[in-house]
Amino acid sequence: MLPDDRKYSKEHEWIQVDGDNGTIGITDFAQKELGDVVYVELPEVGAAVASMEVFGNIESVKAVSELFSPVSGEVVKINDKVVDAPELVNADPHGDAWLIVLKLSDASQLDGLMSAAQYQEYIDKEGKD
């Protein structure tokens, strides 16, 4: 079951909002598609991140995938634990393996994202294609 305390993007990221800040990670669906995650590259604290733009990279044994931010904002925190132990992304993508925390610059961008139920429907469809 997908946690319904957050929003989801078509690029398979989630964002959990708390006040002005949003915590971002990749979904369980995404980690399964990637396979064993062996490298995570995140922006520096203070960096500006734009909605739908690349903010980092995540690598499995075989491939490099870009990380897209669901919203715009400034990076206020990064998860060093994931950088040191990328396999955490496979183990707990919706929890301990959060990637960055953004200070949102435009909360209205959240409206364009999916609820847990909508995202579930989206990946069910994608899985069939």
């Binding site: 396979g35 064993d36 062996v38 490298y39 590259e41 990279n57 690598e59 499995s60 044994v61 075989k62 490099v64």
Partner: protein, 368 residues
């Protein structure tokens, strides 16, 4: 490209791959399992127990007849005349420039009866090349579709396979092979592989491939035998620094530059590319394939540019996270004067330069 070429081919193990939940990809025109759910786990299981690989996509040629030895001798740098019956060696099909048309295994079945195993992506090219150069009394057969080829690799390989075959595996040395039975079916069993582990390859009639694979997995399960996909095959061979055609070796780098000079037997006489290689040996190869480890964070992958003292020197040929060594490793051609162990250079990873260091190879060597 014709329609028939764009449809991927399937090995006889395809139904089994599907059943085992393999992620399938197009590889050299074949629909092959890239993994069975976990590349790292598959890799580690081969190092600790054993893995079963479907390598039926590889090509098999028969070269037979009075002049078979002469023909192979003229096309390859290794010395076929040194092979005994039931012995194989690693070699190459070399071009006039001393580069690789392909890297191959040559098996001597009997006097003037040879089996050559080639890369899947090069089957047509290799066969046409051998045909164009074969003179005298020799019969060439492209038997690639007639065989299923499976590899059982890992420290438990012998224990797994021995009870299932009448071939005396304990007595079989590395790079030897024998005809016999596996699970009651006619097979050729060789002590060869592409993982850096002990292990065997089993060749059977292609229609028997699925049955034999199922039998091996079933009987080997208690010893930890599990299926392995192409992704782990690639990381295993890279840790063992075994070259991959199309990545590390190709028609633009010579056998000497690829650090495979040991397959050139200078006393054997003429072969295609000999003059070019002899000249390069005398003058010294200008560049050499070396192994490296990343010093900075990041994974240097195939095709990423390398820089020595800020100057671009070529591209990384293979690069990956190494699951057993837990390091980011790779292979790259560097200028001969910068190939010494410990030399630092840089790899450009998505626009950022990251430091790497030349290290001794193989990266991984099993304990014997």
């Amino acid at each position: 490209m014709s329609d028939t070429e764009s449809l991927p081919k399937r090995t006889s193990l395809y139904p089994l791959h599907k059943e085992l939940g393999a992620r399938l990809v197009d590889f050299a025109g074949w629909e092959m399992p890239v993994d069975f759910g976990g590349v790292v786990e598959e890799h580690l299981n081969v190092r600790s127990h054993a893995g079963l690989f479907d390598v039926s996509h590889m090509g098999e040629f028969l070269v037979e007849g009075k002049d078979a030895e002469v023909v192979i001798q003229g096309l390859t740098p290794n010395d076929v005349s040194r092979l005994a019956d039931g012995q194989a060696h690693y070699s190459a099909l070399t071009s006039e420039t001393g580069c690789f048309i392909d890297d191959i295994l040559v098996y001597r079945r009997a006097e003037n009866r040879y089996l050559i195993v080639v890369n899947a992506s090069n089957i047509d090219k290799d066969f046409a090349w051998i045909e164009s150069r074969a003179e005298g009394e020799v019969e060439l057969t492209n038997a690639s579709d007639d065989y299923a080829l499976m590899a059982v690799q890992g420290p438990r390989a012998q224990a797994i396979l021995a009870p299932l075959t009448d071939v005396d595996l304990a007595a079989m040395k590395y790079y030897r092979f024998a005809d016999g039975e596996v699970l009651g079916e006619k097979a050729i069993v060789s002590r060869t592989g592409y993982t850096g582990e002990d292990g065997f390859e089993v060749m059977v009639a292609s229609e028997l491939g699925e049955k034999i694979a199922r039998g091996l997995l079933d009987k080997g399960a208690a010893q930890g035998l599990k299926p392995v996909g192409l992704a782990a095959r690639d990381t295993l061979r890279l840790e063992a620094k075994m070259a991959l055609y199309g990545n590390d070796i190709d028609d633009e780098h010579t056998v000497l530059e690829a650090d495979l000079g040991w397959i050139v037997k200078w006393k054997k006489g003429e072969f295609v590319g000999r003059d070019a290689l002899a000249k390069q040996k005398e003058q010294g190869a200008p560049r050499k394939l070396v192994g490296f480890e990343m010093v900075d964070r990041g994974i240097a992958r195939h095709g990423y540019p390398a820089f020595v003292d800020g100057r671009s020197t070529g591209l990384v040929t293979s690069g990956s996270f190494a699951p057993y060594l837990k390091k980011n490793i790779g292979l790259v051609y560097l200028p001969a004067d910068t190939c010494q162990e410990g030399t630092e250079f840089e790899v450009e990873i998505r626009g950022r330069r990251a430091a790497a260091r030349v290290v001794p190879t193989p990266f991984y060597k099993r304990e014997k």
